[in-house]
């Protein structure tokens, strides 16, 4: 992807219709290891984008950069017109409000009930009233099929149930973007389908933008508007799922897909 054709965001600050996320020349290194190498890509609002590629190709790193869990070594990241890095703490917090993330290991708060996991942040961060937060949380738990487990603690739930709670917890913050980081990789095989069905429903019934790292290729094919194939810290190929999964341009992509499908 040639970068000199990209518009300079400094000169076009208002260009936020459509485009929600933009990475420009983003480089991330861990020690000697360059995980992302001058990466460029953008995601339009409401789109579902799936990142595929071999382990260690930098897919998860992108999600972690967007969630501000990591800082890039070079390059700029823009979310909804607001630049991350360099940005003040306040600006970073504003951007974070627009982004929700679901983790491979669920990361529910084990010291809180399921309900409290969903209400804590809306009350503290969004300033929602306790009653409203509880009502919304119950609605979300109903949506993920766990309305009856409000008072349970995460340790009392199966992995699949915990991950569904984690999805509900992310949605409780009403984010514009949902980052899904290999959300079924830690689940027992028989629990994967329930979580993926839930995500398909969310993809279909909401206008939330999704950025998804997954090894579930059928799921990627179902929900994606665009698939990005990563290798060695770069996007080597991108396109609609029909194209990438059925007729990829590159041998490297074909090789990867034949190994995982």
């Amino acid at each position: 992807m040639p970068t000199d054709t990209l518009p300079n965001p400094e000169k076009n600050p208002a260009k936020s219709t459509g485009e929600l996320i933009r990475l420009e020349q983003v480089t991330k290194r861990f020690g000697q290891n360059t995980v992302l190498d001058h990466l460029d890509f953008s995601v339009d609002a409401g789109k579902h984008v799936t990142l595929i590629g071999p382990s260690g190709s930098g897919k998860t790193t992108i999600l972690r950069l967007l969630m501000t869990l990591l800082k890039p070594d070079e390059g700029t990241i823009t979310v909804d017109g607001q630049k991350l890095f360099p940005a003040s703490d306040k600006e970073v917090r504003e951007v974070r409000k627009k982004i929700g993330m679901v983790f491979q290991q669920f990361n529910l708060f084990p010291n809180m009930t399921v309900l409290r996991n969903l209400t804590e942040a809306p009350v503290t961060v969004l300033g929602m009233s306790k009653d409203e937060a509880v009502e919304r949380a119950k609605g979300l738990l109903d949506m993920v099929g766990l309305a009856d487990r409000c008072d349970a603690h995460p340790a009392q739930l199966s992995g699949g149930q915990q991950q569904r709670v984690a999805i509900a917890r992310a949605l409780a913050m009403q984010p514009k973007v949902l980052l899904l980081d290999e959300v079924t990789s830690a689940l027992d095989p028989e629990l994967v389908a329930g979580v993926l069905d839930l995500l398909r429903d969310i993809a279909r019934s909401t206008d939330i933008t999704m950025l998804c790292v997954t090894h579930e290729m059928n799921f990627a094919r179902d929900i994606s508007d665009q698939v990005l194939m990563f290798d060695s810290g770069r996007v080597i190929e991108s396109g609609p799922p029909e194209k990438i999964f059925s007729d990829p341009e590159l041998d490297r992509t074909r090789e990867f897909l034949s190994a995982v499908l």
Binding site: T68, G100, M101, E120
Partner: protein, 216 residues
């Protein structure tokens, strides 16, 4: 060896007084060490050497000098600076301070044992730092460290007789005084020995109950 039950009953009034003092030292000393240890542990995480260096130096110094020296220092030196407290208050502060340098290590380990995913989830939910500590990290860390803190309570109990050195009359102090006045050593020393076992047993029961309550 002649066991004289009447010596036991003669000692009882003094024993109750001593017991009360021992329990006060243990209770307030524990509370100080729990609170101060947490403060030290949190200060050591402030990302500035201007904070961590002095805190580290002071706590290292206190941990590596004998409690007895600290007791004497606070008892005899502070009044020279115009700070006068009762012997009991001085002793409680000294033992609490001394043990806080151990409990800080316990808290540190407990905090570090909280999985990094918990911090990440708190960031992803945009929780403010203070809320992340109070609602997410500390509740999980404290639950992990209760057993280790309990061990220090027992250790502190066994150090309470040191306050005798600064004239605090706790159980051993009373037993010694009684022995010297009545020339009967076996009974008062046995009574307080049993009392120490009973207190540590009850303390460990209480801590186990607390552990169960904090389990989730």
């Amino acid at each position: 060896m002649n066991w004289d039950w009447s010596a036991v009953s003669d000692f009882m009034p003094d024993f109750w007084e001593g017991l009360l003092v021992t329990l006060q030292i243990l209770l307030f000393g524990s509370l100080i060490s729990f609170a101060l240890g947490l403060v030290w542990a949190l200060l050591m995480r402030v990302p500035s050497r201007w904070v961590t260096w002095p805190v580290g130096a002071v706590t290292e110094f206190v941990r590596n000098t004998p409690l007895l020296v600290q007791l004497f220092f606070l008892f005899y030196v502070l009044p020279e600076w115009g700070l006068t407290f009762s012997a009991l208050t001085t002793g409680v502060v000294a033992i609490g301070l001394h043990y806080s340098t151990y409990t800080m290590q316990v808290y540190r380990a407990g905090i570090e044992a909280v999985p990094v995913g918990q911090w990440e989830a708190a960031t992803a939910l945009n929780l403010p730092l203070r809320k992340t500590w109070t609602a997410v990290i500390l509740p999980q860390a404290v639950r992990r460290v209760v057993p280790a803190l309990g061990n220090y309570v027992i250790a502190m109990l066994k150090d309470t007789p040191m306050l005798m050195a600064i004239t605090v009359l706790e159980m051993l102090g009373h037993a010694r005084l009684f022995s010297q006045e009545h020339f009967q050593f076996t009974e008062p020393l046995t009574v307080i020995g049993v009392a120490f076992i009973v207190i540590s047993y009850l303390a460990s029961l209480a801590l186990r109950a607390l552990e169960r309550r904090l389990a989730h």
